[in-house]
Each structure stands twice: as structure tokens, then as C-alpha cells.
């Protein structure tokens, strides 16, 4: 049972880590919290579901199309919905609040549209649910593949951030927007790229979880919430921290479900989050002063 919970937690945590990394890139660079983040994930899951059940295309192949489209849509959201707010804002705090409220409205728009199109029912489909034995534990193949994909993309995104010119520019904006402008980085451009990357990662996460998780049109909020918990626990803008915290969160969730009660997972996650906020408001890996 211990090993079972650990492996289930790891596969779940892999996706959490990936999704949280997307959000932390978005928020860290643009300084705008995207509360509609989880809706992008669920929207991708629905698109994959429709394409798979109607045309039988493999979800993993679909990701090749869904992910770039999500990048473009997220970039458009930043460019046409959020930059007008940035131009209007008098202070950083006012901008944060405005963007929060706007993406909150966007959350309802996307969720409402999905409710109208797909209804409020639980949706799932079966793809690659073949049992695989890993260390004496039986897992389904789709979970294992999703975890592997999450790890690969997570590592790729990490190298993109740490080793490339674009990644360095993004990190520079995250650390100091004014300083980044002084060395010739266009912060709006960087924030647009960051939003696109975040949206693409969310769509990938949605594609991966749709193969083994039952989802509804109203579930985006819970993914946003979990990603936010990971982002804040890790320290805002700290991508490697988000990976570690995401994995930890998945494992905690699996252990609570296995040993305590499946109904208490959200409550326990939240208690952990609360404890972190009180002890270290800047996150476990965050710097003390921002």
C-alpha cells in the first residue's frame, strides 16, 4: 500500500509540477496572476476528448497541435486583454488587482462557454489503460506515459529557461523588470512569451490528465488552486522549486487518500498551504525580500 500510494502520488505530482511550472513562469515574468489558468487545461482536455472519441486520434499525437494553439491563444490573451490594463495602471499593486479581476472574469467566460457546449457532466474516455507493473505495483500505462512526458517537458522547459537567450531574458524580467529594460529587454514581449509558454504547458497538462482522469467543465478552478498552492509554496517565479513542490503535493494527496480519507485531500493540501504561508510567506525556495 505504501509503494502504491507513493507511485500514484508521483504520477499525479508530476503533472501538478508541470502545470505549476507553467503558472509560475506566467506570473513570475508578467506579474499578472492568471486565475483562468486551469480553464486552459480543461479546455485542452475537452478538445482532446472530442477529437479522440470522434476521429480516434491518439491524445499524445493531438498534443502536437493543441500545445502550439494554446501558446498562440495565451499570447493573444496577454496581448489584447492584459496589456491595456498594464498601460492604464498607476501602480504595480493596482495592476495586480486589475489583472486578477480580469482573469477571474475570463475564468467564468471560458467555464460558462464549456458548460454551454459540453454540459456539466463528468467526462472521461479510455486510452491506453493497460496495466503496467512498476516495482511490484500495478499502474495504468497512460499514467506512466503522462508522468514520463511531464518529466521530459519539465526538464526541457528548465533548460529553455536556464540555457537559452530567451530564457535568460525571461528570468531577467522576473528578477527585475526595470533592470531588464536597461539592458535592452522588451518586458512586454517577454511577458507575452511567458504567457504563451504557460498556456502551452497548461494545455499539455490537460492533454495528459485527460487520458486517466474524469473531468468536468467546472474543474479548472481546482487545477488553478493546486497550481497556485504549488507556486506560492515554492516561491513565486521559482521554476525548479515548483517542480519539487508539485511532486511533494501529489505525494501528500495520494497518501492522504490512501491512509486517511479521499474526502480530506483538499482540506489537507490547504492546511499545508496555510502552514507554509504563515511560516514562510515568500515560499520555501523564495528569497526573503522581493
Amino acid at each position: 500500500m505504501f509503494l502504491n500510494a507513493l507511485l500514484t502520488g508521483l504520477t499525479l505530482g508530476g503533472v501538478y509540477a508541470l502545470v505549476a511550472m507553467g503558472l509560475t513562469i506566467q506570473y513570475g515574468v508578467s506579474r499578472m496572476m492568471n486565475l483562468a489558468y486551469g480553464e486552459f487545461l480543461i479546455a485542452a482536455a475537452f478538445v482532446v476528448f472530442v477529437m479522440f472519441t470522434n476521429f480516434g486520434i491518439s491524445p499524445y499525437l493531438l498534443a502536437i497541435v493543441v500545445v502550439p494553439v494554446a501558446f498562440v491563444i495565451s499570447w493573444l490573451v496577454y496581448r489584447f486583454m492584459l496589456t491595456p490594463l498594464a498601460r492604464r495602471a498607476r501602480s504595480a499593486v493596482a495592476l495586480e488587482l486589475d489583472s486578477l479581476l480580469l482573469t477571474f472574469g475570463l475564468l467564468f467566460v471560458i467555464m460558462g462557454a464549456m458548460l454551454l457546449i459540453f454540459g456539466g457532466n463528468f467526462t472521461s474516455y479510455s486510452y491506453l489503460s493497460i496495466p503496467v507493473r512498476v516495482f511490484d505495483v500495478t499502474l495504468s500505462a497512460n499514467r506512466v506515459i503522462s508522468f514520463a512526458a511531464a518529466v521530459i517537458v519539465g526538464i526541457a522547459a528548465y533548460f529553455l529557461l536556464m540555457r537559452t537567450r530567451v530564457g535568460t531574458a525571461l528570468r531577467a524580467v522576473a528578477v527585475d523588470p526595470v533592470g531588464a529594460q536597461l539592458v535592452g529587454i522588451d518586458t512586454r514581449w517577454a511577458a507575452g512569451i511567458a504567457f504563451g509558454i504557460g498556456g502551452a504547458i497548461a494545455a499539455l497538462g490537460g492533454t495528459l490528465v485527460s487520458t486517466y482522469l474524469t473531468f468536468t467543465a467546472e474543474m479548472g478552478v481546482s487545477f488553478t488552486m493546486k497550481a497556485l498552492i504549488v507556486v506560492i509554496m515554492a516561491g513565486v517565479g521559482h521554476a525548479p522549486g515548483a517542480l519539487v513542490a508539485g511532486l511533494a503535493l501529489g505525494i501528500v494527496e495520494a497518501f492522504v487518500a490512501a491512509y486517511l480519507d479521499p474526502g480530506l485531500t483538499v482540506a489537507v493540501l490547504y492546511a499545508v498551504f496555510l502552514a507554509t504561508l504563515i511560516v514562510r510567506p515568500t515560499g520555501i525556495f523564495g528569497r526573503v525580500a522581493r
Partner: protein, 319 residues
């Protein structure tokens, strides 16, 4: 900064007295709409009382509202009604104290996120408790309270809230809170203690919301965690306060009146598109009414006044 005119108090008392006669005029359908509107007005005003001056956006109104409702559902058979309301107020303040101590020294955005998830956690905990410990999900509220009585109680609560809010805005604490909302660092240098001031206000506002939840409980007769802790309430309240403008005590009230009329019209016309419409209204408000209707009107008035001042200055120059 202090205009000590008695006009607001008189206006509130006269309006309350007139509105108290409303149940005799409108039918049962009108009364149920009036109760829903008043409920929104109370919660939105209480929300604005805390969030307006401090600029903390709380998405946890329903936590306090639901706590009030549950107080009635659990203790309704054992305790007299006035005592129930008192207990509800106490429960609301106690939760606010715990939540506030933990979160009010955080930056604004963390507070929003925290409250965003708090209602979810409370609802899950309540469902889990009811399912596993009491082994029945719902509870029945059979109390001898008529719809008219609910209406009058909400009306009195709103009147008290408006008068209290005006007194507060004119007091030293109200001024201190505006300074804190403007710039917390400056407030600290003035020797104010932002955390204590915010905590007091948060408890007051939460108390009122909990009492509103308690008053509304007999209206449902059956409540379960999904009804009492329905997160939509928190979002609706934020929209209302933003639409009206939360820097004035009557802003959220105005927003509540307009939005509950809109919800009523839209909800019956397009029941399936409710979330979509809610979101669109939210986006429109953020773009077009950043300081709410009250802010827009004040801006227009200021422009007219300035225009007149400019014109008269011009006339004086010429003559």
C-alpha cells in the same frame, strides 16, 4: 476631511421606515426578490466596508455566510432566535480572527488566493464531517419565522450597517484605514498598527455577513454544505461591490440593487449561460468602470465643476 452633516443618518432612517412597509404592497414573488436583493445588499456592503479602505479582495464571504447559516441549522432547536443571531455573530468574528491573524500581514495577492481556496476547504470539511460523523449530508431548519420577518431583519441589519459604516468612515479608525489602504509603509511611519486595524475591520465585516447567513437560514428549510457554502455568492458580492464602487459606503449597495435585478432577469432568460454572463459582466466592469459607477459619476461631476470653474475664470479674465 470630516463633514459632520446629519443627512446620511436621516436618509437611512427615513428610507428604512418607508421600505419596511414594502411587504404589505408587493406580493410573495416580489417579497422573495426583495429578500434576495436585501441579502446581497447587506453582504456586499459589509464586504465593501472591509475591502474598500484596505484594498484586500476577499473571496471568502461565503465562509462567514455559511457559518451563520449552519449556526442556525445546528442550534436552531435549542436556543432562542436573538441568542442564535448573537452566536452567529460570535462564530463569524471568531473565524475572521483566526483567518485574519494568519493572512492579513500578507501582501494583497496572497490574501486573494488564500480566501479563494478557503471556501473550498471549508465546504469539503463540512461535507466530510456531515457524511462521516453525523452520517447525513443535509439538515432541516424548521423555525417559526415568516418571510416578512426575514425581510424586516435584513432591512434593520442593512440600516445598522450603513449607519455604522458612516460613523466609521468619519472616525479616527476610518481615517487610519484609508491611510493604510493608500500606503501601508506611510501608515506604519505615522505610528499606526495596520494589522490590528485591518483585523478589527475584518472581524466586524465578517460578523455582519455571518448574521445575514443566520437570518437567511430559515428561508431554505433544507441546507447542506453545497447550499450554505456555495462559492458563487462570494463572486457575486465582489462583482456588485466593484460595479457600484467600493470607495464609498453606498457604492456596493447601488451595485447590489443593479446586479440582483440583472441576475434575476438573466437567470430566468438564460439559465444555462449564467457563468458566461457573470464572467462577461466582470470583464466589462474591469475595463470600463475601474472605480465603479460611483467613481464614474464623481469623475463626470468633477469634470462639469472644473469646466464651469474654467469658464467663469475665462469670463473674469475677459471682463
Amino acid at each position: 476631511m470630516t463633514k459632520q452633516s446629519a443627512f446620511p443618518y436621516v436618509a437611512v432612517i427615513v428610507a428604512t421606515a418607508l421600505l419596511a412597509l414594502l411587504p404589505y404592497v408587493i406580493g410573495s414573488f416580489g417579497l422573495s426578490f426583495a429578500i434576495a436583493t436585501l441579502n446581497f445588499a447587506v453582504v456586499a456592503t459589509a464586504w465593501g466596508m472591509f475591502c474598500g479602505p484596505t484594498r484586500y479582495i476577499s473571496l471568502a464571504s461565503v465562509v462567514f455566510f455559511g457559518a451563520g447559516s449552519y449556526t442556525v441549522a445546528v442550534l436552531g432547536d435549542y436556543v432562542s432566535w436573538p441568542l442564535l443571531l448573537l452566536i452567529a455573530a460570535f462564530v463569524g468574528a471568531a473565524i475572521a480572527l483566526i483567518v485574519g491573524l494568519a493572512t492579513l500581514r500578507l501582501e494583497g495577492i496572497y490574501f486573494v488566493i488564500f480566501t479563494f481556496g478557503l471556501s473550498e476547504m471549508i465546504r469539503q470539511l463540512a461535507t466530510w464531517y456531515e457524511f462521516n460523523i453525523t452520517e447525513s449530508v443535509g439538515r432541516y431548519v424548521f423555525l417559526d419565522i415568516t418571510q416578512e420577518q426575514i425581510y424586516w431583519q435584513l432591512l434593520v441589519l442593512l440600516a445598522l450597517l450603513l449607519i455604522g459604516g458612516t460613523v466609521l468612515a468619519r472616525s479616527r479608525l476610518g481615517f487610519a484605514l484609508r491611510v493604510i489602504g493608500g500606503d501601508e509603509m506611510v501608515a506604519r511611519h505615522f505610528g499606526l498598527n495596520p494589522t490590528i486595524a485591518k483585523l478589527c475591520l475584518f472581524m466586524l465585516s465578517s460578523m455582519v455577513i455571518a448574521v445575514a447567513g443566520a437570518i437567511m437560514a430559515p428561508r431554505w428549510t433544507y441546507i447542506d454544505p453545497a447550499i450554505a457554502f456555495n462559492p458563487t455568492l462570494s463572486f457575486q458580492v465582489v462583482i456588485m461591490a466593484l460595479l457600484g464602487g467600493m470607495h464609498r459606503i453606498y457604492g456596493p449597495l447601488l451595485g447590489a440593487l443593479l446586479m440582483s435585478a440583472l441576475f434575476e432577469a438573466l437567470g430566468s432568460q438564460f439559465p444555462h449561460a449564467f457563468a458566461l454572463l457573470l464572467g462577461l459582466v466582470f470583464i466589462v466592469i474591469v475595463y470600463l468602470l475601474p472605480n465603479g459607477i460611483v467613481g464614474r459619476v464623481e469623475q463626470a461631476l468633477a469634470r462639469v465643476r472644473n469646466g464651469r470653474a474654467d469658464a467663469s475664470a475665462l469670463v473674469e479674465q475677459r471682463s
